[in-house]
Amino acid sequence: MNQGNIHFVGVGGQGILLASEMTAYALINAGFDLKKSEVHGMAQRGGSVEAHLRFDQTRVYSPLIEPGTVDFQLAFETMEAARYLPYLNRNSKVIVNTQRIMPPSVATGKATYPDNCLDALTRQGIAVIPVDAYAIAKELGNIKAANVVLVGALSTFLPLPAEAFHEVIATRLPARIQEVNLQAFKAGRAAIEKD
């Protein structure tokens, strides 16, 4: 795999930035050129957020992933996985955190949370890989590490050894959260590898 497009989607505040940064640094260590695009400001207050990460052995021009060209989608929230469907194609791999976060219209009873939002993906033949990152992180004693559990799951599909990520955790994260994040990362990997 010489190039790829990774789409991180979820809800503002879920640690999407850190997850995409860890992935980026691991890819940099492996010698890829890459670009990442994200949106700040208004979009951060619990709104739907996305980060585009593109890597290439030679050169990346556009920082934006084109619709229909996502190789891996890391969805931090179930409904958000379905929101970006036009970005996917039949070969996309979608790793979904099974957590649900209610948008305002659902939280106030005006709308209902769609029960089957992932059906839209599977019906198209897209590989959907569910991960209960929240439960895994809770078991590790830190719900904030759910994002790194998801990175662990994603890492099994990337052209990089797990060690590239271990190095990022050891060099880029503050010392006091390294251990829990390393555990979270490994647990995320294990969650994929065991099936």
């Binding site: 990442k36 949106v39 619990g46 920082p63 929101r83 194609n89 948008p103």
Partner: protein, 606 residues
Amino acid sequence: MTSQPSAPEKLWLSGNEALALGAHEASVKVASGYPGTPSTEILENVVNYSEIYTEWAPNEKVGLEVAIGASFAGVRALATMKHVGLNVAADPLFTASYTGVRGGLVIVVADDPSMYSSQNEQDSRNYAYAAKLPMLEPADPGEAKDFLKIAYHLSEEYDTPVLLRSCTRVSHVKGIVTSGQVESSALTPGIELLPAKLVMLPANARNRRVEVEKRQQRLRELAETSELNRIEPGDNKIGFIAAGTSYLYVKEAFPEATVLKLGLVYPLPEQLIRDFAARVEKLYVVEDLDPFLETRIKAMGIACIGKEVIPAIGELTPSVVRRAITGQAPADLFEPVELPPRPPNMCPGCPHRGLFYNLNRLKVFVSGDIGCYTLGFLPPLSAMDACVCMGASVGMAHGMDKALGEEAQGKVVAVIGDSTFLHTGLNGLINSVYNKGCSTIIILDNRITGMTGQQPNPASGTTINYDPSPTIDFPELCRAVGVKHVRTVNPHEIEATYQVLKEEIARPEVSVVITRFPCVLTVDEKKRPKKPFHSVTENCTGCTMCLRLGCPAINWQPLTPEEAKAMGKKEKQKGYALINEDMCIGCGQCYELCKFEAISKEEVSR
């Protein structure tokens, strides 16, 4: 923050971080600006370079004026802002074009095509033309850093302020940036008396006006040969002229094409463009937003295709460019599915929520302003009726009062944040007092500039690097400009706030209500231990009162009649409210609204 590298180092930086590194490598000495997405992180990173004096100014005009002063003192200076901020700074900008500079002066302005976080989509390149200033436009973080350094050279060599245009997809894109040498200005800092150049009274300004034209001519010549503008040869069937991120999208969509990449977007290299046009069969100009390049190229008498096919609304992407030119829709994409939208929302425990809840109850016309509290527009709070630009709410409310007279009395209020009030709201308040208005102005004093990410302002008590500094006393300030009725409330206390609002809105003169409670994301508030409330499900009658706050920590759990019965509730109860204790910060607003003790005051231990 990376320390100053001397051997080139590959860094992974956002455009804004790269611009900060550029300021460091260009030996900038003074940097000032006002936060605004997508420009904010430039100064937030510049402040980490201790040799650069960095500050938040109360608005962009002041920020630019500080930078102009520093330049006049012979040091390199930087002013940063977003596109709408340049409107505020336009006044000094146009005259600084006449005075020119001593130390290099660069104004970085960040546009927001598609309005991810802005109230309009204006194209800052038009300012370069109108103010007769050169403008550089980088395409990615690496170029952002390099172009900033080049901008300082141009500024000193051509005696001109230089505009550098970023945009969301440069400022908030991360890429690999190579660090470079720290280079300094050849100038000696100090005071020099140059009245003919620096005092813009008419007689001097008329002379400088001529200098500006001469400079424009020299810059046009430079544009022809500058490395900022380059031809990338390829298939000559179609040629593209593009700048900034549009260039990247063209390269992505048409890797084989011939491209003229413009790094200097004003003034333009006429001869280079002519030569380029002559070598390609069909010429396209691809640019975000306005037909800025296209209009000028067509005015040169050169045939090209631009906005006939390239959208002028919203940001471009490779697929938009490809589709515009080939007419082909992207290969069968999956149809989007219908889902409940997920708009941004004020944080759990946001002090603004209680105020907007009350304003909704009072059924007044809310003249709004720019900040997190603009989200008070969204349901269920639905309590903002107008919003135009920073600082405008106060003047707009006064205008409505004057237009409607008696009829408006007690029906219009202005809301404005602390930072926004100090940005340009204060002048509006002075006007309302002076012209005998009757508006109620509500200052939402959460001690910080919230929306852009908790930047301190003159009311916060610290500077950009968290050094303690004097704190503005809003009640005293309002009294000093002549407001007789000033009251301060805690917006978490819903009933108490309601009473004060009612009284002040009824008052036939100008009054100010200050809602004072810190933003939950300020450094101190984040440290404060959270004491979340919890829901007592048995007591909840499903009345939905608490849901009217729209707090993200409160969720509605629907019930079927059977489920309701099984829970021992009335069959017709449609559901109940559940507090997410991981999210609740214990502000107490919902507790105050619940009449059934379904929200417990007992603190939950975590």
